[in-house]
Symmetry: D3
Subunit: 70 residues, 6 copies
């Protein structure tokens, strides 16, 4: 019954999500013997203005890096 | 203070959500004596391309089933 | 495929959890037509020293209330 | 490595989120000595029709209050 | 910055968790180009008396299956 | 109604948690005008063998660093 919730920035496409679901399910089945039908993988995609790291919104971090590199 | 988070596929309408909120709150109040004002129920609705089960995105599972049945 | 995660203070016993699982599953099956085998309910029990409300740990709120009533 | 997930009703703007990220990161760094680069703050914004409290959707609570006050 | 939270029944040992962390991180780095240092994988292990599926606690399901098979 | 869930490594004591609860609540009240009585902060403390970063369990990262520094 594992439930895997992935919080990540928006931007993964359908094929990428499908590949990640396959990989994670394969790992849980191989390592822990889980039943794949009971293995759920859920993506919660987040906008850059809704994710903070290092005290700043990701959005602002990106801008800052551009300025530093500019 | 229970907080109930429901991850589910998109598709429930307002009335259905209201009914589920009522049922879950009623259960927590009756069984555990919780204060309803402290009982929160939050829906996180997920697109079929963001939910995997059995190693496949739900979207792909639906397609597959249609092909099998077709 | 709903996954219901319940964050609550420690203290519910096995029979109470079983009753809540039954109620919530019954609601999701009745209202949304969900498959019960795909309906998961997970309890995350939390110590009073790990839950804050109103700016205070629940533990401290309880103490305060006792002092006020004492 | 703290990960802080904030479930809240939709409505906070970018500047408000930036201020909250700054405050929470500052608190975790000051109180626990966490590395800010490892400190993540994620907002999950929820529509009023997807949040229940007191057995009612927030949406309905607002309506009710308006009627009571009207 | 992905954060992967795995809710699962208690019982995985350290080596199994290490292997799953390696697999999931490898997948997110390969498929999405994520920075591994920003990739977090968190296990929330749950007792069988705190996980319900099909309207029953997992604990009760196990007992039932034993009786059916006995 | 914000609900703030903090996933972090085990090790914060009661006073530290109380201080963080106070800080976060104060921030949400000041910035967003939230009602403190509706503001919940929940700590989910995780063992170093249940948290992975950079493809390794935190536990293993610590050992490695000790070896490198030794």
């Amino acid at each position: 019954m594992p439930v895997v919730t992935i919080q990540l920035l928006k931007g993964a496409n359908r094929d990428q999500k499908a590949e990640i679901v396959r990989d994670i399910t394969e790992s849980l089945v191989r390592v822990l013997g889980k039943n794949p039908e009971n293995t759920h993988v859920v993506f919660h995609e987040v906008e850059p203005e809704s994710w903070g790291q290092g005290g700043l919104l990701v959005e602002a971090r990106r801008g800052r890096r551009t300025i530093e590199l500019g």
